[in-house]
Symmetry: D3
Subunit: 151 residues, 6 copies
Amino acid sequence: MNNRLYFEDIEIGATRQIFGRTITETDIVLHAGHSGDFFPHHVDAEFCKTTPFGQRIAHGTMILTIGIGLTAVEINPVAFTYGYDRIRFVKPVFIGDTIHTCVTIARKEPDQKRETFGRVFEACEVINQHDQVVMACEHILLVERSNNKTT
Amino acid sequence: MNNRLYFEDIEIGATRQIFGRTITETDIVLHAGHSGDFFPHHVDAEFCKTTPFGQRIAHGTMILTIGIGLTAVEINPVAFTYGYDRIRFVKPVFIGDTIHTCVTIARKEPDQKRETFGRVFEACEVINQHDQVVMACEHILLVERSNNKTT
Amino acid sequence: MNNRLYFEDIEIGATRQIFGRTITETDIVLHAGHSGDFFPHHVDAEFCKTTPFGQRIAHGTMILTIGIGLTAVEINPVAFTYGYDRIRFVKPVFIGDTIHTCVTIARKEPDQKRETFGRVFEACEVINQHDQVVMACEHILLVERSNNKTT
Amino acid sequence: MNNRLYFEDIEIGATRQIFGRTITETDIVLHAGHSGDFFPHHVDAEFCKTTPFGQRIAHGTMILTIGIGLTAVEINPVAFTYGYDRIRFVKPVFIGDTIHTCVTIARKEPDQKRETFGRVFEACEVINQHDQVVMACEHILLVERSNNKTT
Amino acid sequence: MNNRLYFEDIEIGATRQIFGRTITETDIVLHAGHSGDFFPHHVDAEFCKTTPFGQRIAHGTMILTIGIGLTAVEINPVAFTYGYDRIRFVKPVFIGDTIHTCVTIARKEPDQKRETFGRVFEACEVINQHDQVVMACEHILLVERSNNKTT
Amino acid sequence: MNNRLYFEDIEIGATRQIFGRTITETDIVLHAGHSGDFFPHHVDAEFCKTTPFGQRIAHGTMILTIGIGLTAVEINPVAFTYGYDRIRFVKPVFIGDTIHTCVTIARKEPDQKRETFGRVFEACEVINQHDQVVMACEHILLVERSNNKTT
């Protein structure tokens, strides 16, 4: 669904919460094949029995990919991903865990280099079925300014 | 391949460069399905004709996933991913581009909370076939200290 | 996104139009592997040169799967798929075609067997980049009645 | 295997029964990614615990795709899919269920618009390991007439 | 389709030829992810420009997998794969090539260790669209003896 | 990682052992879709209950693909796969088994047809978590001779 929101329209403190998704063995096998990362922590269940977690854990890049992907249900056509800051993998995600993502508009500021854009910082928390944060990050977006639309 | 390197063994300025991988339409379709992000910038070639790039672009989370995945050829069993800082998508990646990743040990420091570990910061640059950086980030690792091994 | 709409809330003639998706060679290869249907019309480009279309065509079940999938962006938690009627593959879909789906509420009626539900009939048209209908069908939904919520 | 059967050769009442296939969590994850339909009924095991079924259910479009795909073992080069009628999802399919498809030639008739073709209606039933019909539909085929071959 | 053929029923010199399949970029990307083999000959188009072939080539294990898979249309329930001999990759397979497989019963012999079985040797040739053999191998099957059925 | 080893550099008896990988239901479903081999021994859990193994077994071509793929961590840019001999599937591989591959340089010999190359024969054993060999084969490589490099 399309939802055009200019820089000025975005309210600090606004939150979105999205439906969850269960992380499956399939997701881990697919992510290993997609990334080429077949480290034994992700794909060797026998090795994992010798680790503190005792089982396979999800790739960090997969938790980011699915955690952010879960928020991609509403398109703001005047917003673009600029980058991510402070990605932290706080707890491991295991096969069978169900995660959802909570997004809060943390702050916004003018963009120094681009007059017609502002930067919006979304605080993202990926949360498991025990209400534990498993990953946190700041998603930085470039968003068009509304005065821009009349130019 | 296993390559055990303790915190003290890791030299600042050391670099690794890894074989490349061509980003295909397949990768984008798989990443859309893996992440659930079917934004038209990634999967609608007709829409993309109306954008400045004129064509589909790779998901940011995919460039991170594959860019970091390309470095996952040598396992250091005493190192763990702690997080990522300052991920920036500098240029778009198009279907048919070939990327490789250049990793440089940028700096290291003791870990405040964990006596037996240090933090190592790898500067990662994902580079396309025109020698342009398309993504940059800092990969933060927790690495065991060597004095730890005799404890 | 969640959007609770009871049987009484649904207006005949209401339409939804959704962002498009380009049908790729990848989709056809994946659908062959998912369905187990490797008929040469879908996977043998040399054979297809001898057919009237001259090229590989998408599986009918894939056009239904993706065409309906494109509409799965907004969840109505009180609606359930009951079935499909009159699915017709009007024109072939080729690799590189971009399709979108247009959904119109065609009619609705009480459900004979289930007092607390009504049936809603959505007319779905899957349309290519030349504005040609490639598939049409009627999607039948069971939707809770609003008087049900106060019971 | 190729098996050329003209309209006149097809006998009403003839049945085919095909080997089965177990529906796995993998199939559901792949179908979500293929269709873009990540509704929580299919991918969120925690949410599903709160539903009457208590667990994830397969997408309707997947049961059609795999159910019909199971019949795609013998190619009749003079037959083409025209469409499907009366697709009904009679019972849910859960992870671990094994389905097979039973096809019966229900009826046939001349095609009004195309002299050299007739229409054949296959009654398809997708059946689970408890001998319960989980999906039923009518598969409509256009089949060349045999007098056509001498023209 | 089921086709029960006992050791005695299998005729030397009998051949089967099967519909073809076009090898796509998708197949190579999927096989890299499935096998974990991301060697640049398969996934780095820029590197491949510097090789004699000038382009990416299919993995040998994929040509075996798909070449043999193409023959898996008819099930002989009393035959089992014992192994393969003399697999040779005679020519490279490129993206866009279409392969089919020609199977000939080469010879058969009693099984020394298993009285109730015989060994059947199928000569398999995987052939491209230019009628060139790209892979050859001998597929060894254990097949039940028919006198076994009355025991 | 790149590791250039000429024919003369390769020592008979040298062994490599590689990290393991757990064979998942996902791998079997993906291999069925990749190969087109949906034989009930691999995809029909109900049928498999009636067989001696009582459960689904991995495709032989998949054990070769993953078993050899596990060895693809170090690239010798002057070596090329020539073929495989004596592939034998000694024991079945079940869902949940973890395999690793042990490679030993068995022997080497000049190549009769190509002066600048020699043949190296690697004995490969794919081994499960019970230390049982499940597959054995000989991997034949063409390796450049070192005197070749000065020509």
